[in-house]
C-alpha cells in the first residue's frame, strides 16, 4: 500500500528512477514508473520496463498531474515514465525566478 505523503521517497521497480513526494495525496492512489507500481526505498524491485512507458525521467524535474494535486521531485533519473492513477505525469511548468541568494 502506497502512502504518498510529502517527504516520502519511492523508487521504480523496473528502472533507476527515484522520486521524493513534494506535495502528497495520502492513501488510495497509485504512483507507477515504467509500468510498475513504485516501491519504498528499502523494498526490492522486479519485473521489466514497459516499452510504452519508457520516455525517461530527468533529475531535478518536478512531475505533476493535471490539477497539480500531486507533485514528485525526481532525485535519481531512470528510463521509465511516471504515472499517477493511470494519468501520465508531466514536468511542472514554473516561471524561472531571478537568483535571489
Amino acid at each position: 500500500m502506497q502512502v504518498l505523503k510529502a517527504g516520502s521517497r519511492w523508487k521504480s521497480a523496473v528502472c533507476d528512477t527515484q522520486v521524493m513526494i513534494i506535495k502528497g495525496v495520502g492513501e488510495g492512489h497509485e504512483l507507477s514508473c515504467g509500468g510498475a507500481p513504485m516501491v519504498g526505498a528499502a523494498e526490492a524491485g522486479g519485473g521489466s520496463l514497459d516499452p510504452d512507458k519508457a520516455e525517461g525521467t530527468l533529475m531535478g524535474k518536478r512531475y505533476v498531474n493535471a490539477d497539480e494535486s500531486l507533485e514528485a521531485l525526481c532525485v535519481k533519473e531512470g528510463k521509465g515514465s511516471l504515472y499517477f492513477d493511470g494519468e501520465k505525469l508531466g514536468p511542472k511548468q514554473a516561471k524561472a525566478l531571478p537568483t535571489s541568494d
Partner: protein, 497 residues
C-alpha cells in the same frame, strides 16, 4: 525530507564540477558530499545533539550544514562578532554540542560544559580526507537553528526544519540551472539566513561559490574580476561601500563577467541602488525580501522591475525602486489591520505570510503560526494596486504618540531629503503627556543646521505630530555589521543624554 538530498542530486549529476572556491582552493561536488559525510561521522562520534559553528565562512560551513543533516542534528552557526559573554551564553544554549571554531573567537570565552571544540582547520582537513559514507537520517526534523540578532532583546533561536528549507529551494531554484561558467560571490556571514540560503541555492543550481570571509570593497571587486564572478548577493551596506569606493577612488567599475546582483537584509537607500544601476548598467539587479523565520526570500523585485522603475515617467512606477517586489509563487502574503482584517491597496498594516517555507518557530517557545498557518512577520508595509510590497519598518518600532501610530521610516525619509542631513534615526521616547514622543538622532553632512529648521522642514511635509520634539546631533548612527540600525541603542542614548 532532508536537505542532504539537494547536495546528493548535484553530486550525482555534476561530480567533477567545482562546488566552491575559498582562498584560491577548489572543492568539487563529489568532494563536498564526502566532506559532509565526514562531518556527520564527527557528530556521531561525539554523540552530541547539535553541530555549532563559530567561524568565518569557509568550506567547513557547507560541510557542517550538510553533515549535521546526515547525522540528523541541527546545524547552529553562531555570530562571532558578539561579545565574549554573549558568545558564552549562546554556546551554553546549544550544549551538548560539537563546536567548529576559529580559535580567535574563543579567547577569553568561558566554555560551558557539554561542548567539544574542534578547530576549523583541523576539522576541514579531517572531513576532506574522509571516505566512508554515513547512513543519512531521513527522519531528521530540524535542519538549522539561527539565533536572531536580538536588536530588541535576548536572541531567539529560529528553528528551520528540513521541509522549510527544502520547499524554499525546490520552489525557487531550478535544479542544475547554472551553466558551468557561473560563479556566485558569497559575502554574507555563515550565521545569517542569507548565508545559509546562498549555500543551498548555489549547490542546487550547480553554481560555483566563491567565499569571501571578510568583506571589503577592494577584495570584492578583485574576486569579481579574478574569479570571473557572474552572480553576487550583498546587503545594502556592502553595496554602498562598493559604490563609495568606486566613486572615491576613480577606479572603473569593470566587472565584465558580472551578470546579476541580488540585495537584501535591510533597507536599501534609493540613492545607492540608483548609483549602482548607473555604474553597472549591464547587471541585473534583484531585491530580495525575507526573514530568518521564512527560510530567506519571500518577495522579489526583479531586474525588469528595476529597469522599468528607473526609466519610468509615471511616479507610481518610479517609486517601485523602493519596493521589495511581489511574493514568490509559493508564498501567500497579506497586509492586515490591527483587528487582523486584510486591508486594501496602499493601506499600511502588518505583513503576514503563509507557505511551506515559513517556519515561524523558535526554540523553547514553539510555533508562532496561527492555526491557519499564517506568520506575523512584525514588519509593516503596504501593497500597491499592482501587487508590489513596500516596507514601512517594524511593528516594534512604531511610535505611539497620544494613541496615534507613527512610523519612524516616514519621518526619516523626510529628514534624509534635507540637504544638510547625511543620516537620520527616529525613535520614540517615553513622555508623561503623550505616552511617547518622536525624537531624532541626526548625522550632518558638513554644515550646521538648527534643530528648528529641521523641525519646520518636517512640519511642512508631514503632520505636526511627526515633528521630532528633540534632535541630537551625532557623528555616527549605531548599525550592526550587516547594516541593521540598532534603534534600541539610539533610544538608550536619548535616555542617557
Amino acid at each position: 525530507m532532508n536537505i542532504i538530498t539537494l547536495l546528493e542530486m548535484t553530486a550525482e549529476t555534476f561530480p567533477d564540477r567545482v562546488a566552491l572556491t575559498c582562498e584560491g582552493r577548489g572543492i568539487d561536488y563529489a568532494g563536498l558530499l564526502r566532506a559532509a559525510h565526514g562531518a556527520a561521522a564527527a557528530v556521531r562520534a561525539a554523540g552530541v545533539a547539535r553541530l555549532g559553528h563559530l567561524a568565518v565562512t569557509s568550506p567547513a560551513a557547507p560541510a557542517a550544514l550538510f553533515g549535521a543533516a546526515i547525522a540528523g542534528v541541527p546545524y547552529v552557526p553562531l555570530n562571532y562578532r558578539l561579545t565574549k559573554e554573549e558568545i558564552a551564553a549562546l554556546i551554553g544554549r546549544i550544549a551538548p554540542a560539537l563546536l567548529i571554531a576559529d580559535a580567535d573567537y574563543l579567547v577569553g570565552v568561558n566554555l560551558p560544559g557539554g561542548v567539544e571544540v574542534v578547530d576549523r582547520g583541523a576539522f576541514l582537513a579531517r572531513v576532506l580526507a574522509y571516505a566512508e559514507p554515513e547512513e543519512a537520517d531521513f527522519e531528521a526534523s530540524v535542519a538549522v537553528e539561527l539565533f536572531t540578532s536580538g536588536t530588541t532583546g535576548k536572541p531567539k533561536a529560529a528553528v528551520l526544519r528540513h521541509e522549510n528549507l527544502f520547499s524554499y529551494i525546490v520552489g525557487s531554484v531550478e535544479f542544475g540551472s547554472a551553466a558551468e561558467d557561473e560563479a556566485t560571490l558569497v559575502t554574507v556571514p555563515p550565521y545569517h539566513i542569507a548565508g545559509i540560503s546562498a549555500m543551498l541555492s548555489s549547490i542546487y543550481a550547480g553554481r560555483r561559490m566563491i567565499q569571501l570571509p571578510n568583506f571589503s570593497p577592494e577584495e570584492w571587486l578583485r574576486l569579481c574580476r579574478e574569479e570571473k564572478v557572474t552572480n553576487a548577493f550583498l546587503v545594502p551596506t556592502m553595496l554602498r561601500r562598493v559604490i563609495d569606493h568606486l566613486a572615491g577612488s576613480g577606479e572603473k567599475p569593470d566587472c565584465p563577467s558580472l551578470r546579476a546582483v541580488a540585495y537584501g537584509g535591510g533597507r536599501m537607500p534609493l540613492s545607492v541602488i540608483e548609483q549602482a544601476m548607473a555604474m553597472f548598467p549591464g547587471v541585473d539587479f534583484t531585491n530580495a525580501y525575507g526573514l530568518t523565520e521564512t527560510s530567506s526570500t519571500i518577495c522579489l523585485l526583479g531586474p525588469d522591475d528595476h529597469r522599468q522603475a528607473a526609466a519610468g515617467e509615471d511616479p507610481l512606477i518610479r517609486r517601485r525602486l523602493a519596493s521589495v517586489g511581489r511574493p514568490l509563487p509559493t508564498v501567500e502574503l497579506e497586509v492586515r489591520d490591527e483587528e487582523g482584517k486584510p486591508v486594501g491597496a496602499d493601506v499600511i498594516g502588518g505583513i503576514h505570510v503563509r507557505g511551506p517555507q515559513v517556519s515561524g518557530e523558535y526554540g523553547g517557545i514553539g510555533s508562532m503560526l496561527c492555526p491557519e498557518g499564517w506568520f506575523d512577520t512584525r514588519d509593516r508595509g503596504f501593497i500597491d494596486g499592482e501587487g508590489y510590497l513596500f516596507l514601512d519598518g517594524r511593528a516594534d518600532d512604531v511610535i505611539v504618540r497620544g494613541g496615534e501610530n507613527i512610523s519612524p521610516g516616514e519621518i526619516e525619509a523626510v529628514l534624509l531629503a534635507h540637504p544638510a542631513v547625511a543620516d537620520a534615526a527616529v525613535v520614540g521616547v517615553p513622555s508623561e503627556e503623550w505616552g511617547e514622543v518622536v525624537v531624532a538622532a541626526i548625522v550632518l553632512r558638513g554644515r550646521d543646521v538648527l534643530a528648528e529648521e529641521l523641525q519646520i522642514w518636517v512640519r511642512d511635509q508631514l503632520r505636526s505630530s511627526r515633528v521630532p520634539e528633540r534632535i541630537r546631533y551625532v557623528d555616527n548612527l549605531p548599525y550592526n555589521e550587516l547594516g541593521k540600525l540598532l534603534r534600541r541603542v539610539v533610544r538608550d542614548d536619548f535616555h542617557a543624554g
